[in-house]
Symmetry: C2
Amino acid sequence: MAVVVGYVPTAEGRAALRHAAKECRLRNTTLVVINSNRGGRELNGSEAARYEEELASVRAELDAVGISNEVRQLVRGQEPAEDLIAVAEEVKADFIVIGLRRRSPVGKLILGSNAQRILLDAPCPVMAVKADEE
Amino acid sequence: MAVVVGYVPTAEGRAALRHAAKECRLRNTTLVVINSNRGGRELNGSEAARYEEELASVRAELDAVGISNEVRQLVRGQEPAEDLIAVAEEVKADFIVIGLRRRSPVGKLILGSNAQRILLDAPCPVMAVKADEE
């Protein structure tokens, strides 16, 4: 059993990671951090290097606070929803944590297609966290 | 602090309730069960009586397993999303649990407007549970 979190280096990605880490501490379970990129033209060399650095620092922080973790960078040409769902099935996740952007004050923001797909298709419950929540 | 769950007597409502109860046991916190009806023509007398019976049995079950609880039936002419968000603010909820219908095998089911609104506007994280998950 484990908690799976979708991580991107944005405010909502970091909020999801912090929240997931707290849940793992409470449950004494492993945190599986997934950074999913489609690869190809969307990911150039310097971006890939920056992501790797970010993920190394995530791993170091989790190690430092004693949270059992596994950090995976997936570049398999899949949508993040597909990658997260596949990993959640593989590790028999207790739940998935995802970050959501808050509705903007000037307009209606509907849920992105990846978030909707994870919420509806994941094999387990999904915890959605907004950028200013931990 | 508390966990707030939106309860309706359906498969997904019951899954949300069971999941929320497990989380309260883990956290040793109070479960606030909200059944929200707009009232008016949507709720006739016999339906209202059936809801009251359902909620009394929910309360009895939670009492029996020793989970501190508060069951509220709200008929204030508001959408369920508004009621749940207001209660989550009032009790400073750790998170809200909602039930989701699974995507049907024959067609694409998008998230309902109440679910989207709770996910995006709640003052706290939201845990979404599907009907066959606990």
